[in-house]
């Protein structure tokens, strides 16, 4: 259950630095791969699930800072992957566990990071940095364990490409279409803008046959497959920089197929309906965000990861109703559409990591397809069979 039985951990750390575009320099020690990496500095307040967060494609290109101080405690394991490899550009922690403890672990987090070439830094005051970007807004930064000259690093951070107006989904979408699983339930096409595996698993658990297609797949090709419903996935980047996708989503809305969108998918569906999307000062990233379901008055504790949001004032109530709102800041969290059968969510009902309070949305989508398509899907179909990739 432990990886290392000898006394005293590997405490011959290589120095590393974190440099922010505003000139802030923080010293620490290198973890994972040695090297230099950069991206938008963001944080996540979830106390568990570091590996899911690391491998969430929505974080593509970002430097992820965990607010919980001890990271790596339970090592890394295949079953906690949300993609085939880490998606964050770098990883920042306060106290890194080299010697993990959990029966499920396949390797230590350090081994995992090195195996995937992920650069990180430990031993930094993450709380101070969180407060810094909370007050100053998100900014770019670099982590380096090779080049340690302050001025150079700050310059690298300043030169790093801004996320604003950046299309990133094409970097993380599947190269070619594949069938994730086959079952006796509904047939779903997943438009992959960086889909988390647990979304696919959630469909599989409900007996679906799931076909995952590249984000740029023409709608016609998809319809040829005769799906019962369409799903627009989460993903990284600025949705406003994806005109083709918006256009495709817009046309999909006219197909009379039930449609479900999560996160980026939700934003694309909103943009396709003419609603506005804006970049938030500080995004929502954590697993403890309260969301109220306005229909049932119930509150869900949800997993969130977004830096853009749909502007409530721009929503045309003849097209969609706001069904879910964030209790902390009142932002839009869920829409139910009137012009077609569909729902979209800003937050992550698939959790992973996070509470399972919102799993029911997948059932709602199943019901939509069952009703709309007049399908004879059993109420609780057996879990679909995985298809080897």
């Amino acid at each position: 259950m432990t990886t290392d039985s000898t006394a005293a951990s590997d405490r011959s750390p290589a120095p590393a630095k974190l440099a922010l575009a505003d000139g802030t320099i923080v010293e620490g020690t290198a973890i994972g791969e040695r090297g230099l990496t950069g991206g938008e500095l963001c944080f996540n307040t979830s106390m568990t699930g570091y590996q899911e967060i690391m491998t969430d494609p929505s974080y593509y290109g970002q430097l992820m800072m965990m607010t919980y101080p001890h990271i790596g405690n339970y090592g890394a394991s295949d079953i906690d992957m949300e993609a085939d490899a880490p998606m964050v550009a770098g990883f920042i922690v306060r106290s890194f566990t080299h010697r993990h403890s959990n029966r499920q672990a396949d390797e230590s987090l350090d081994e995992f990071m090195r195996r995937h070439g992920l650069v990180g830094i430990a031993g930094v005051d993450t709380r101070a940095l969180v407060r810094h970007i909370r007050d100053e807004g998100v900014m770019n930064a670099v982590i380096s364990s090779e080049q340690l000259d302050d001025e150079t690093l700050v310059q690298r951070a300043r030169d790093w490409q801004s996320m604003d107006g950046l299309e990133l989904a094409s970097k993380v979408t599947t190269e070619s279409a594949y069938t994730f699983c086959e079952g006796e339930g509904a047939r779903i096409v997943v438009y992959d803008f960086g889909v988390k595996k647990n979304i696919l698993r959630s469909f599989r658990e409900r007996g679906c046959t799931v076909k995952v297609v590249p984000g740029a797949t023409p709608l016609e090709d998809v319809l040829d497959w005769e799906p019962d419903g369409l799903f627009f996935s989460n993903g990284p980047g600025d949705p406003r920089a994806m005109p083709e996708a918006i256009d495709r989503v817009g046309r999909a809305l006219d197909t009379e197929l039930p449609i479900f969108g999560i996160c980026l998918g939700h934003q694309l569906m909103s943009l396709a309906q003419g609603f506005d999307v804006y970049k938030m000062f500080v995004g929502h990233r954590g697993a403890n965000h309260p969301v109220k379901n306005l229909n049932t008055e119930r509150v869900e504790v949800t997993t969130q990861n977004h830096g853009f949001a749909v502007d409530e004032d721009s929503i045309d109530s003849s097209i969609a109703d706001v069904t879910h709102v964030n209790l902390n800041d009142g932002t839009v969290e869920g829409l139910r559409f009137k012009t077609f059968t569909g729902l979209s969510l800003q937050y992550h009902p698939e959790a992973s990591p996070g509470p399972h309070d919102s799993h029911y949305h997948f059932d709602t989508f199943m019901d939509m397809m069952r009703d709309e398509r007049d399908l004879s899907i059993p109420d609780q179909p057996a879990e679909g069979a995985p298809v080897a990739q």
């Binding site: 307040t45 906690d80 407060r131 909370r134 954590g286 697993a287 509150v299 504790v301």
Partner: protein, 921 residues
């Protein structure tokens, strides 16, 4: 749904005297509940028999009834006050049991009183272990195998079905698992089952499959009327299963589960909670409220509002101010709780930890990492440690091996020793079953120790010093570890030279995601200080640390009033304490709360940053007084009575000189530093002789010896614990009456707040005695002498603030035994009996006010009619192997108050008849 308007008056039931398994966490939760309900403008009627708590302060509710918690007394109050609803969940098991008795007799229904905060029918389900199991089975949760027995025969059959010993025995409906435990052999099995059947009010015990060595977690949940459930905290027990949670070292949040594993547990917990009846409130009732301090989330306050109809999403998160209360706190620090035991009080006690709780108190500490948090917790315990060891010689191998075999209070200390002796994590894991993650952390701490051992103090550079301090090492530990001979002050001086000082972080429930204004801080060696120092005049009030026998919640009562008084006088009041069960550590009592060990280095760090006008030591019991000398050395102002006087009264010789000067009689005495000297002294004084070590609390180590052999035995015992102690010997006055006097002096005027006469003879510790206010059998002349001696002492000792004097009366002669210029254990009792906030007035006196002003405004007028009786309450049932006997060493854990009109009342008669029964040594 907003708050209910069909309710106007709410009856709140408290938890009564403090016993092991039901401690002052319910004082805290009850106080929070009362405040929350008053805030909503309900009329709150509060019933509790415990005078030592803030909860029973008149300011807490519209009406406070200091009455016993029996169905008949509650019924009587309910008939008088006609409440619309009763909230019994803030009173622990005691409150629930009384409410349930009244439910069964149909009382609530008859009177049209609604029970809120709990579905009273379901209490039975959670308390009746078999019913609970059946329910959990229905909703599909896995459980250990188990069955209920009503006889020894049944118990044997069940055990056979479970595959034989070991099994866990749990009597139904008992506090803190009284009478339960793991049994490994047949003899033990029979005696424990028999005792369990006797102890259980339902006369049934549950026989559980033994999961010894499994891991144990706790979740703290809140549920609103709309069935929204949130998890406030996840807690991981470091001590593996088989030890009562109350006796386990625990950390929050949980450290070793993956998200999938954790969420599975969360799902199960929510499912379980929603399956239990329909109610709004908190769950995990037994240890419900400590997570408030760990997470910053005011659980009891929110639970109370849910009980009167609010939904979680209608309430704000008071910590951040503008986010929702309906969320799950995210921590960016590690909280460690360590229980505090008092085995030294109970001779012959079995110190091994089992499923039956034995701890009398606890400390909590907050650090950015587990090592920092763990070391701070050890600094908080006040048992002389400067951290997790590394401050003295290590225990020898044999002791380490012995102590690690079964769980004991010092298990983690011996884990450290084992690593010092080169044990591997696997070896220690095999023996202790402690999760390797924690073992690795401790092993890393030992590795860091080794680095310090090989570095001279002045060779420790800034970076290395930060690493050491970030791992929680105190200056005292560093001084012990570095090769050269230095003390903690030199380490501190050097540390300041290289600018390695702590900063303070806010406990904000949200890991920094949102700004939080709440002034609730812990120290850490990070980069940004979040505690802005104002230019106001400040007072630092030192709390009393963990509860223990002899120093309990009564000092917290005093601290809370001290804080309030200082604020009323315009000072910024800074509170420092490490006891999570108390009201003083509530985040909105003081202007700033520092949740820190009451340990010199941590205290001085805060003093140096805040630069208060002075500190108040008189309110926090011995804990604060012990630091007095160091404040004096560092020229830090102490408000009230000068430190020399506090110290001086402990010096028997000097104190006796004062008494002679004042012509006050005292029993003949002597001092000794060795066994021989003690025997000689005792021979001269005559027997019986009262023996005690100096500078102790609650009569620790105090004994009455009737011959030379006993003197030798007791003295050598004391010297083995306290090698250089000066031992005091007094001629013991037999069949004398003992008197406790509380007073306040402003330097000129003396206000005698109460004279109490004990029912039990002198020789029984004052904390274990039944005290009657005012005296019931002393002549006017003797009473006047008592008052005069008190006044004389107050003047002679230059007391400014509180004074407690203990006297004995024999043959109309009044002898003074000791005087303590600080808050006494009886302070809350006298305050409640007289209806005066004595510690608040005393604090104002310390800060410069004069008694004259209070006297003129009538603030000192006592409204007691008849007698008030303070009744000690014991926890004997937790230590079946210890004989019940009373002596000069205190053993009670709590107290109750009773008001009687005349001496024929049973509250007086009963102890009076039994007064000589238990006096031993």
């Amino acid at each position: 749904m907003p708050k209910r308007t069909d309710i106007e008056t709410i009856l709140l039931i408290g938890s009564g005297p403090i016993v092991i398994g039901q401690a002052c966490e319910f004082d805290y939760s009850g106080s929070q509940a009362a405040r929350a309900l008053m805030e909503e403008e309900y009329r709150v009627i509060l019933v509790n028999s415990n005078p030592a708590t803030i909860m029973t302060d008149p300011m807490m509710a519209d009406e406070v009834y200091l009455r016993e918690l029996t169905p008949s007394s509650i019924a009587q109050i309910a008939r008088e006050e006609k409440p619309d609803a009763v909230l019994p969940t803030m009173g622990g098991q005691t409150g629930l049991n009384v409410a349930q008795d009244l439910k069964e007799s149909g009382f609530w229904e008859e009177e049209g009183i609604e029970v809120i905060g709990v579905d009273i029918d379901t209490v039975q389900i959670t308390e009746d272990r078999q019913e609970f199991r059946t329910l959990m089975e229905e909703i599909g949760l896995d459980q250990s195998r188990s069955d209920t027995a009503k006889s020894l025969l049944e118990a044997k059959e069940i055990t056979q079905d479970l595959g034989g010993l070991p099994v866990v025995i749990r009597p139904s409906y008992t506090l803190g698992g009284s009478g339960g435990g793991i049994v490994w052999d047949a003899d033990e099995f029979e005696s424990m089952v028999t005792r369990g059947l006797e102890l259980s009010p339902a006369h049934q015990v549950l026989i559980d499959e033994c999961l010894y060595g499994w891991k144990e977690y706790e979740l703290e949940l809140l549920r609103d009327p709309n069935d929204n459930v949130i998890i406030i905290a996840s807690i991981e027990n470091i001590t593996p299963m088989g030890v009562h949670t109350g006796d386990s070292v625990t950390v929050a949040p949980q450290q070793t589960l993956t998200d999938k594993q954790f969420q599975k547990m969360r799902d199960a917990a929510i499912k379980a909670m929603n399956s239990i009846g329909t109610f709004a409130g908190g769950c995990n009732i037994q240890f419900a409220f400590e997570p408030s301090k760990a997470t910053g989330y005011p659980i009891a306050k929110v639970a109370s509002k849910l009980a009167v109809g609010y939904m979680l999403d209608e309430l704000p998160n008071e910590i951040t101010g503008d986010t929702s209360a309906c969320f799950e706190p995210s921590l960016d620090y590690v909280v460690t709780k360590i229980p505090r035991f008092n085995f030294d009080k109970f001779e012959g006690v079995d110190e091994e930890l089992t499923t039956q709780m034995k701890a009398v108190g606890e400390v909590m500490s907050i650090g950015r990492t587990f090592p920092e948090s763990l070391q701070k917790a050890w600094q908080s315990l006040e048992i002389g440690y400067a951290g997790l060891g590394a401050d003295r010689e290590d225990a020898d191998r044999e002791t380490v091996r012995e102590r690690l075999k079964s769980p004991h209070w010092d298990q983690l200390l011996h884990v450290r020793h084992a690593f010092r002796y080169g044990a591997s994590v696997e070896e220690v894991y095999d023996v202790t079953q402690i999760d390797p993650w924690f073992l690795h952390q401790i092993q890393d701490m030992v590795a860091l120790e080794e680095e310090i051992r090989s570095t001279n103090l002045r060779d420790i550079d800034e970076r290395f010093m930060f690493e050491i301090k970030r791992n929680g090492f105190s200056d005292e530990q560093i001084a012990h570890l570095v090769p050269e001979d230095v003390d903690d002050e030199e380490v501190r001086a050097y540390r300041k030279e290289i600018d390695v000082m702590p900063v303070y972080q806010v406990v904000d429930t949200c890991a920094g995601e949102f700004p939080a204004e709440t002034p609730y801080y812990y120290s850490s060696y990070e980069t940004v200080n979040e505690s802005p120092v104002t230019d106001r005049d400040k007072v630092l009030i030192l709390g009393s640390g963990p509860n223990r026998i002899g120093q309990g919640i009564e000092f917290d009562y005093c601290c809370v009033h001290g804080v309030k008084a200082a604020r009323e006088m315009g000072y910024e009041a800074l509170m420092l304490n490490c006891n999570p069960e108390t009201v003083s550590t509530d985040f909105d009592v003081a202007d700033k709360l520092y949740f820190e060990p009451v340990y010199w280095e941590r205290v001085l760090d805060i003093v140096e940053m805040e630069q208060p006008e002075g500190v108040i030591l008189q309110l926090g019991g011995q804990t604060a007084i012990k630091l007095g000398e160091r404040f004096e050395e560092n020229d830090i102002n102490i408000f009230g009575t000068p430190f020399e006087v506090m110290d001086f009264v402990e010096d028997r010789g000097k104190f006796t000189d004062v008494l002679s000067r004042l012509e006050i009689p005292s029993p003949p005495y002597g001092v000794a530093h060795s066994v021989d000297e003690a025997v000689q002294t005792a021979d001269q004084l005559g027997y019986p002789t009262l023996i005690r070590p100096s500078y102790v609390l609650g009569g620790e180590g105090m004994r009455i010896a009737i011959n030379r052999d006993e003197v030798a035995e007791y003295v050598s015992n004391i010297l083995s614990y306290y090698p250089d102690n000066e031992i005091l010997l007094d001629r013991f006055l037999e069949d004398a009456v003992e008197i406790d006097v509380d007073a306040v002096c402003d330097g000129e005027d003396v206000w005698i707040t109460g004279v109490m006469q004990h029912i039990e003879p002198a020789g029984v510790h004052s904390g274990d005695s039944t005290a009657v206010l005012p005296p019931y059998s002393l002549s006017q002349e003797v009473q006047e002498t008592i008052r005069q001696y008190t006044r004389d002492l107050a003047h002679e000792l230059n007391v400014v603030g509180l004074l407690n004097v203990q006297m004995v009366v024999k043959d109309e002669v009044v002898y003074v035994i000791e005087a303590n210029p600080r808050a006494s254990r009886t302070m809350p009792f006298v305050s409640k009996a007289c209806g005066i906030r004595i510690p608040a007035l005393a604090t104002k006196v310390m800060l410069g006010e004069k008694l004259k002003t209070f006297r003129e405004s009538g603030a000192l007028d006592c409204d007691l009619d008849g007698y008030a009786i303070k009744e000690p309450v014991f926890s004997w049932d937790k230590f079946p192997e210890v004989p019940k006997e009373l002596g000069p060493e205190m053993k009670s854990t709590g107290e109750a108050i009773a008001f009687v009109d005349a001496l024929n009342d049973e509250h007086f008669q009963q102890p009076y008849e039994m007064k000589d029964l238990y006096l031993s040594r």
